[in-house]
Amino acid sequence: MTQRVLDVAALTEGTADSRSLIWWGNLAMLAIEGTMFAMAMATYLYLRSTNLDWPPSTVPKPDLLMPTINTVMLLLSCIPAFIIDRASITKNMLPIRICQALSIAVGLLFLYIQYAVMVPSLGYKWSSHAYGSVVWVIIGMHTLHMVAATGETALLFLYSLFKPVLKKHLLDFRCTAVYWYFVALVWVPFYFIIFIEPWMQRKGS
């Protein structure tokens, strides 16, 4: 009797695309974090619907200029992320490095503006009232993600300057890019509810 075998020696080892394990792991993590952000959003909306005075009348209308600039800048930063994503497929290191540097700069600037300009101008603290609590929680959560995305990009950038770039690092570049899209896009609805929505209310109704 003969024994059949299935020979897989010809298969490639590792991929840098959606077939790989890390890619899937990254997506699963985004699903988890997406659920967390959805919970934060649900918290906001729930508290909003149980309070007639929302945002509380003591809260000044938010400044729009800097948060808007910051948000637009964050959204534009998806472009370097996209370039990193594409360039990783062909391991074209120059655009990757340039865009990584750009992403890090945007990330740091975003965080700087959040904490040096936007947060001080809010006019309330997390301990002022439930509105303050939920807004601060949302900003805090997003900041943690922003720090993580920037930090990850920075580490990969530094690493790729000094060490050989393996295939798994190309995958890391791409996953970081996907993570960056996530962190940028998830901010949009929060930008809307924290900064735009208070202006849309007809007070006194």
């Binding site: 009797m1 059949r4 299935l6 699903a31 959805a38 649900a42 909306l45 729930y46 619907s49 149980t50 007639l52 849309m200 007809r202 109704s205």
Partner: protein
């Protein structure tokens, strides 16, 4: 389970049957004969019928599905439900849910694009088909109908229209109202189209189940928020509802509940159908012998 939903809907109304001040015979006469609604409906139906008559590929159940979807559209947009939606938030909600998770998926299952293509004169069919196969158009189409993109678009349509000022605007202005219905129906149709016929076909049904779940989740959450809200989201309904014997807050709760539970059940049914099709696809592929080396024909 569909029966369950159908039976569920009248229950709360039934509980209040003793109270309503409007005779049912009155409102049953409120059919809307808006030409802007009737005309597109008639044309769509006719074109689909023409396409189906010329072509053999569409199965009977698919035709039945399209017909059912079309009837659902009539129920939502032409029957008294439409007029009632101006009085009761809950009726309006039922109308929207019919558009989004009854009509939209049923229409999509009928493979309307194929039928529409076949309805064209024979000479046009190939050029039109080719036109849509051209690279920029196909790429754009692929991008717009990517499952993630349509899921987000549908979510935006759903949530943005429930912002109080926007929603109330639809009740004051017919044009805005039409826009709301179009964006609900369009994004929902794209959503279900993308999940069932989209780029990855049946291979993508696994991911499709997740998208159905996510959509069921956020739309249920919106329903729950409306159900538990202690105040009126849309005060404009406050006065209108009284004529029906419900108070406005109860009407709002009913609306939220419709969005949350019966709609959730429909999502579950659709989700599970897609899931079963995914399993079926696996079975089909194995039977087709892609895993040839593994079959046990040899000894």
């Amino acid at each position: 389970m569909t029966v369950l939903v159908a039976l569920l809907l009248p229950l709360p109304a039934y509980a209040h049957a003793g109270h309503h001040h409007l005779e049912s015979s009155t409102f049953m006469r409120w059919w809307s004969w808006e030409p802007f609604v009737i005309l597109p409906l008639a044309i769509t139906g006719a074109v689909y019928a023409a396409g189906v008559l010329r072509m053999k590929g569409i199965r009977k159940w698919q035709i039945a599905s399209f017909a059912a979807g079309w009837i659902a559209l009539v129920i939502a947009l032409v029957s008294p439900l439409d007029a009632l939606g101006g009085i009761l938030f809950s009726a309006h909600m039922a109308q929207h849910e019919i558009l989004m998770i009854v009509a939209a998926p049923l229409l999509v299952f009928g493979r309307p694009l194929v039928a529409f293509l076949w309805a064209l004169p024979a000479a046009w069919r190939v050029p039109v088909g080719h036109f849509f196969q051209r690279d920029p158009i196909k790429k754009t189409w692929n991008w717009i109908t990517a499952a993630l993109v349509v899921t987000i678009l549908h979510a935006i349509a759903l949530w943005v229209w429930h912002i109080p000022s926007w929603y109330e605007a639809t009740l004051r202005n017919d044009g805005i109202h039409a826009l709301q219905h179009i964006s609900f129906l369009l994004t929902a149709t794209m959503f279900w189209w993308s999940l069932t016929h989209g780029r990855y076909g049946r291979l993508g049904y696994g991911a499709a189940v997740i998208y159905v779940f996510a959509t069921a989740g956020h739309s249920g959450a919106l329903g729950a928020l409306i159900t538990f809200a202690p105040h009126l989201w849309y005060p404009i309904y406050g006065a209108r509802t009284a004529a029906w014997g419900l108070n406005a807050i109860e009407d709002q709760q009913l609306a939220g509940l419709i969005m949350w539970i019966p709609a959730g059940v429909l999502f579950t049914i659709l989700g599970i159908a897609i899931f079963a099709a995914w399993l079926g696809e696996a079975e089909r592929r194995v039977a087709l012998g892609t895993s040839d080396a593994l079959r046990k024909e040899r000894t």
